[in-house]
Amino acid sequence: MGLISFDLTNPQTSLEWMIYLTSKYFKMFLDGTWLTLYIAVLGTLFGFLLGYIVGIVQDMKIGEGDNAVKKFLVRILKGFASIYVEVFRDTPMIVQAMIIYYGIRQLGVNLEPVLAGIIVTLLNTGAYMAETVRGGIGSVDHGQREGAWAMGMSPMKTMIYIVLPQAFKNIIPEMANTFLTNLKMTSVLNVIAVQELFMAAKTVGGNFYKYFESYLVIAVIYFVLCFVFNKIFNLMEKKLKGKKDYVLAVEYMDSQ
């Protein structure tokens, strides 16, 4: 026996309880962690995709030379986009979860809680990302577009090859932030019976009436997850900044 010893058959202190609960319900916490990650990753990825699409729609301009059908379609799309963004930004995610889950069930569709959780997360992410993408597009110097237009690039191609790559780079920190937020926000999905970490803690805590210890366990798990991802994102950001120097193409030096 070392200096610190735990009597895990008869836990007394909070620390002992934490270890006891963790080892006894290891599988439950592990499953909860996986599910939390699963929902956060899928919800965020699809949310980003949706956010990009909605952000691009919101940035669309109606040209005077466009035909009536295109003008009408763009207006409709823009209308839908702004209603969507407003609604999801102005209501709490926990309420959205309830409405979507029970709403779809009332329609007679038996929606899996996990799928509902992913849908809620992605819709929520999409609304926030749309604004971020719009801001990112706006942050790209207008001269970049003019440079492309002046060589005959269509507005669409300009968006794909020039504006979006630059906007993407500008909003990477915000995207990382959104992912971390989602990782933590999945905890509200326990209200629609998703067996993620928060639900695990609630169940485990209830078994022994040890809520403090049980939630402390998942706090540590959330912290470690976020901490690790944060470090990974920081590294990625550094990598993406690219090299400061460049290789001189010496084979063309004599042309000077």
């Binding site: 040209g63 466009d66 060589m151 005959g152 001189l248 193409a249």
Partner: protein, 246 residues
């Protein structure tokens, strides 16, 4: 065969109530090197931007090889592919290397093969002395180098006309020369060029025709030998004396 490339007819442009261009008529003939001079706010840059359709004219028409350029995106794109533009602020794509900058539009607009795009890029980068820098990114270059790359990038499209919007105005004085030299070289190739500039010596020596703009009007349109030595319009005289004195 009519060798008028661009024809501008009765073009006006207003921003709200402010009239920037009034009744502009210009015919640009193949091989001409037109320098547009005038004080700031006289409308020269706006005129150039109208020619490239980056600004929409309020009234008037622009013809390219006798065909009117209407406000239809596809027509505008096709037209712009033949009329290149070099900007004051370079507008090199900052997410790409020098080589990628020179290859993107030839690949995506003209749809030429990768090999040909590469060959064109290298040829024109050599012309402007920037071939060794193909791997550099725009923010690693000096202003003069950026502008030379921008010129090469435009040349890759094999344009019929090249527009220059104050190409040396954003440069440090010691870099103006390298860009002007490149432009002088280009002038000898027979490429049609329209250049908005404050470099009076360049306009006098290189242009085949100089246009003086004042308050949105074309005040004088003459060969440089005439315009600089014997200006007809009192406003031109005033402008030139201010420039030559200062």
């Amino acid at each position: 065969m009519d060798n008028t490339v661009i024809s501008i007819k009765d073009l006006s442009k207003s921003f709200g109530k402010h009239e920037v261009l009034r009744k502009i008529d210009i015919d640009v003939t193949e091989g001409e090197i037109i320098c547009i001079v005038g004080s700031s706010g006289s409308g020269k840059s706006t005129l150039l931007r109208c020619i490239n359709k980056l600004e929409k004219q309020t009234t008037g028409e622009i013809f390219f090889r006798g065909k009117e350029i209407r406000d239809v995106q596809r027509e505008i794109n096709e037209y712009r592919a033949k009329v290149g533009m070099v900007f004051q602020s370079f507008n090199l794509f900052s997410n790409m290397t020098v080589l990628e900058n020179c290859m993107l539009c030839t690949r995506k607009v003209l749809h030429i093969s990768k090999e040909e795009a590469f060959d064109r890029a290298i040829t024109h980068l050599k012309e402007v002395g920037m071939a060794p820098f193909i791997n550099a990114r725009p923010d690693q270059l000096s202003g003069g180098q950026k502008q030379r790359v921008a010129i090469a990038r435009s040349l890759c499209m094999n344009p019929e006309v090249l527009l220059f919007d104050e190409p040396t105005s954003a440069l440090d004085p010691e870099m103006v020369g390298e860009v002007l030299n490149v432009m002088k070289e280009l002038a000898t190739t027979g490429l049609t060029m329209i250049i908005v500039t404050h470099e009076m010596a360049f306009a006098r020596d290189v242009s085949t025709r100089t246009i003086f703009m004042d308050q949105g009007y074309i005040a004088e349109d003459a060969p440089p030998s005439e315009l600089f030595s014997n200006p007809k319009n009192p406003r031109t005289r005033e402008f030139l004396s201010r420039y030559l004195a200062g």
